[in-house]
């Protein structure tokens, strides 16, 4: 005699990221990338999400349900990276996408810190654009991610 309902991932979902936020410990957004046209009141939603993630302790798990999606977040010193994903996405894969992004920033900015992101916002976005498009992962090889930005830097030096 089997159970009749259990929570489950709906397997027909798109499996995608809805957004990525980069936030400092004070809750200030330093980078925000929405992959679906954000909802009407997205600013207050964003604030709410940030509040929820910042309030969590290190012992708590890196995932939390939030309304229609799931948040996957990771903290690096004073910076939080928060990804909103749908229920078909693989949480650990997203957790490591975040880490790969951080490593790629590190590689380009040479020990990245909050200020690097702020003063080079365009570059920070550009790197992310190479990794994730329309909410899907496209490239995870750090050298290839950095290729276009290096082309650009060279052009400027000339």
């Amino acid at each position: 005699d089997l159970v009749f309902t259990v929570p489950t991932r709906s397997r027909t979902g798109a499996a995608m990221l809805k957004f990525i936020l980069l936030v400092n410990k004070q809750g200030q957004t330093r980078l925000a990338r929405y992959y679906q046209h954000p909802e009407h009141e997205y600013i207050s939603t964003e604030r709410d999400i940030i509040r929820k993630c910042l309030a969590r302790e290190d012992s708590q798990c890196s995932f939390l349900e939030y309304k229609k999606f799931k948040l996957v977040y990771r903290r690096y010193a004073s910076l939080y990276f928060i990804a909103g994903v749908d229920h078909t996405e693989n949480e650990l894969a997203i957790l490591e996408l975040i880490h790969n992004l951080v490593e790629t920033y590190d590689k380009y900015f040479d020990k990245v810190c909050e200020l690097d992101i702020m003063f080079n916002l365009d570059k920070a976005y550009m790197i992310l654009e190479e990794m994730v498009m329309n909410g899907r992962i496209v490239e995870m090889n750090q050298n290839r991610i950095l290729l276009p930005i290096r082309v650009m830097d060279q052009a400027i030096q000339k």
Partner: protein, 965 residues
Amino acid sequence: MPTVAKGDGMRGLAVFISDIRNCKSKEAEQKRINKELANIRSKFKGDKTLDGYNKKKYVCKLLFIFLLGHDIDFGHMEAVNLLSSNKYTEKQIGYLFISVLVNTNSDLIRLIIQSIKNDLMSRNPVHICLALQCIANIGSKEMAEALAPEIPKLIVSGEIIDTVKQSACLCLLRLFRTSPDTVPPGEWTQRVVHLLNDQHLGVVTAATSLIHTLAQKTPEDFKQCVSLAISRLSRIVTSSYTDLQDYTYYFVPAPWLSVKLLRLLQVYPPPEDPAARGRLNECLETILNKAQEPPKSKKVQHSNAKNAVLFEAINLIIHHDTEPNLLVRACNQLGQFLQHRETNLRYLALESMCLLASSEFSHEAVKKHMDTVITALKTERDVSVRQRAVDLLYGMCDKSNAEEIVAEMLAYLETADYSIREEMVLKVAILAEKYAVDYTWYVDTILNLIRIAGDYVSDEVWFRVIQIVINRDDVQGYAAKVVFEALQAPACHENMVKVGGYILGEFGNLIAGDQRSSPMVQFQLLHSKYHLCSAPTRGLLLSTYIKFINLFPEIKGQLQDVLRNNNNLQNADAELQQRAIEYLQLSTVASQDVLATVLEEMPPFPERESSILAKLKKKKPNVSDIEVVKEGKKSSNPPTLNNSAANTPDATPVSAPVPVMAAAPVAAPAPVQSASDDLLGLSAGPAVSAPVTNNIAAPAGGGGLLVDVFDTPAAQNNVSTSLAPQAEDNFFKFAIKNNGVLFENDLLQIGVKAEYKGNLGRLGLFYGNKTSYPFQFFTPTVSCPGDLSSAMNVQAKPLDVNTVEGGAQVQQMINVECISDFLEAPILSIKFSYSGSMQQINLMLPVMLNKFFEPVEMDATTFFSRWKQLNSPGQEEQKIFKASFPIEGDTSRTKLLGFGFGLLDGVDPNPDNFVGAGIIKAQSSQVGCLLRLEPNMQAQMYRLTLRTSKESVTKRLADILLKLF
């Protein structure tokens, strides 16, 4: 010091950012930002010769200001200009601004399409990539129409470089999802599937996402991808980490690609070809084996990447649900994770195991972990993990362990987090019912629920216990005894009073023989709670008292005293007053025989699925009904109370408790009955408030039944396709109300009761036969003419009967889903035969755009900034018109609120004017809408100004509003 050295650091930007960081207060920051915005504005306006570098700098500043949470309402044109720059860096910033700040509905899209086209044709691959990325991120229908034909060749043509292929895949994915028709399948589709074989893993990664999307839509056309994905996966998992140097991440070969391939395979059933199937199983086994190997690195990145693949493999195993061996291995693996020191792994293991619990192959294996899960429930420090433990206990529950699991959940409920209590209550209630062998246990469990977490016990739960007690005579005496005991607690929850009142009213006689629970004691006990209860509960208790008058004639006098009490007879609450008067009168004039007939015991409820289940599904949007999936496999389930054939509950105690009505067949069946029928959960259905009024009022609100008879034309005796004469007028009346009479003639009356939430609506139609002869072949059909069919899903439940007897009423439920904004209304066409002649009536179903409108609150600043943003042509609609109704502030307010606007007081300096905001919630898009309505008393005119982001919406809303004032 900041490292600005990289690339082309912009000094002005650095200074601005430093200034902001140095601001001591929010006000200072705001001031600095305003200053900067003014500066940028003047630069953009004044100096036409602004060079690329400066434009870039300002656009970066705007981006930064946007991130600080400010709306950016200019700079778009400058960004568009940057697109046509030849400098990569300027072009890039232009694209960045557009894809971060511009939404897909914007008029700007039209302006940038040409630039994108030019870049797509460029010889420079980095330019092509920028254009493709932009489409991939913000592609709209318009873009799809203009650009889609260019894209497939960028994927499949031989000379194209890899990065362009990758971007083109995602670009096509976007266009396909936005507007599938613009991307017709062709030769390219097969070529795309073969990209799974591409030697470049970046290309495979991008292509897999595209194929996943295409295959979800038409799996049959992409079947071939299964074997290709399996062989690709096999090559990855069997390779050593050095083979895929570039795509190895912490000793795990291509983890993200593996996850995607495993997910793609979940679109399909297990492969039929034995070779492919064998190969896939080998892969899955290898992945499970690797989990047991010692880690190649101590870094968490290594184990995360490895486990990401493992969990996705387990998802695939569960999805296929055909390999007992793999299912049990997966279960054992997850069992290990349940005790892992990483919280993340414990969370995910609980989540995945919940899926395993529903497979007949692994259900028993999952049950072995019950003790661990119960410990998790008690000891986990993170509420999200505890929540997963609750889910899993619920999932693994069956007859063998139900008592233990329910007891553990009840115990946990005492201290459970508030956020999950309501859901836990529902789950306990469902399990207790589903697995009750002994219904005394079920009754005890529900009463415990009310005792422990009364505030979280929703109506569905206590309705359900009453239904079950009424339907099972073996438990009635016991139920009466235990509710009586429960009511003796000094502080007892109101839900307990409701259940107690109802059950004692029906079955109090079963315990009345005991002196300790004599009629008088029962009555005094209930009545001692009366003054503490809300009006609906008092109403219920009054019904209990009239039932007592029948059950216990010896205390009639005391009961009549209560009914006669001025607090009741003259109660300000019309419902209570009416009950008191009617019950008093009934008890005075009716003979004992009549009383006994009118107030006899409730007949059993028709058996049906639990309404609690519906409520739980509604609460958790991601809960799907596994039973549906598994139905084919297990047909041996004995029918119990809850899994009977009917799957929508209709009548519940809300409608039924009306003792007066139970034996009064003359009364029309109460149409407003189904509070718990309602899957949307909109009407909280004030319990037991309907009864007395129901048999007096017309079916759906208002005294329409009596009034409208005189002004309706004679019955149409001919069959036609044109709309019935009153159709349009009545239709627009529904713009500001949900319930009422939609149509009435000499033969037929149609009442409507509707509820809406988000983009969903549910209408109950009540067809009343006013004649004394039957309507035969009675068939209402609903259709969506023209464009409407793509803007709206309408599902009408067919009637169970095709004859409506004279004087009878039948009910039909219609579900509506708004996909996008729309103009027309669905057509309701009713055909029936009356005295041998065919009748046809065509009506517009009262579903209009503003039904999917939700009010929005905002302050004046926000309102004005939004208002200013919506200044493009077509976004505003202004009408000046003569008032059709007397101009009255309060009436207008009511109308606007009924229409769905949130009214913003104090925004308009003139207090006679109205300012409002709302949002249309269609499935495909949400459209914000702002309104200003200025009445002019002298001229008896109005000026109506509407602004929305979508022209068609603005027009339609204005048209409807015009009819209301």
